[in-house]
Symmetry: C2
DNA sequence: TATGTACAATTCATGCATGAACGATATTGA
DNA sequence: TCAATATCGTTCATGCATGAATTGTACATA
């Protein structure tokens, strides 16, 4: 006796506003993440770039970075501008393709990424442990589903 | 035998990147929503304001709108600027408090909100029906949890 | 009543995201 | 070889979000 309004699809305790609820919940999570990273003086986009550079283990072109972080190139241009101003990254010319510019992480960048990572891990643990054990498998499944 | 890395909290198939997965999934959902609303020539923030005004059934002060949509006032100032430029809303002076400005929806605004609502409902149904029946209760529970 | 405090909206600076237009360089194919 | 085409990064215009500073108004109380 759910599906009160009789619309097909809106059944079984899935409210009319589920989409907004999910988005809202994610935003709340995002805010927590931003808050945690702030302790390391980093924003999420900046942290993502540093993390990518560290895990790649080498300098990456701006286009490659944009592609890996799923954003447009012009965004990466600005982001790297800011990271460069912070001294966390530096632009280096690509020797094999003169159109391309690579972003190389600096020592300061490495340090900041490590600090950020600590904070992220802390939050990660807190959030993970707040998810009821019996719901974890479902969460993972839902996530895979909504890809 | 989960919890491979042995960190407390990071257990039972909850990967190290769960936070990012959730945020990423929500962003994907958000993109779909933006895409749907685009058919009604609306952005999510604009739609939210119109929806709030319709459901309130009366003009609301910018501060009230900001508070209901959980954003800062300066943001609402700009948003209403754009909505006003679109002819979907109009500013009216508050008779009882000369500091306050109310946003009143126009006829065009009402129409657009209705169009947007149709698109949102369509997407809502599609998403809802893509969530496995046996996972729905859990989803609702998780959402309530992450409030 | 005058004054200090609280509150409303705005403006400004900044960050982050997009897409269009552009110049420089690579690559392809006639 | 050289003209068309594709790709790379940048710039610019725009939207949306924040917080700080400002202006105008309301209100409490000394």
């Amino acid at each position: 006796m759910n599906d009160i309004d009789g619309r097909p699809g809106a059944s079984s305790a899935l409210a009319d506003e589920t989409i907004f609820s999910v988005i809202h919940a994610a935003h709340a999570l995002e805010d927590k993440l931003e808050e945690a990273l702030e302790k390391a003086h980093l924003s999420m986009p900046k942290y993502s770039v540093l993390k990518e550079l560290v895990s790649a283990g080498e300098a990456l072109s701006l286009g490659e970075l944009a592609s890996r972080l799923s954003c447009v190139r012009s965004n990466m241009t600005q982001l790297v501008d800011r990271l460069e101003a912070d001294g966390l990254v530096r632009r280096v010319a690509c020797p094999t393709d003169r159109r391309s510019v690579k972003a190389e992480i600096t020592e300061a960048g490495r340090d900041r990424q490590a600090e950020g990572s600590k904070e992220v891990t802390r939050l990660q643990d807190a959030v993970a442990s707040s998810v009821p054990v019996e719901d974890r498998a479902t969460l993972v499944r839902l996530l895979a589903h909504l890809k």
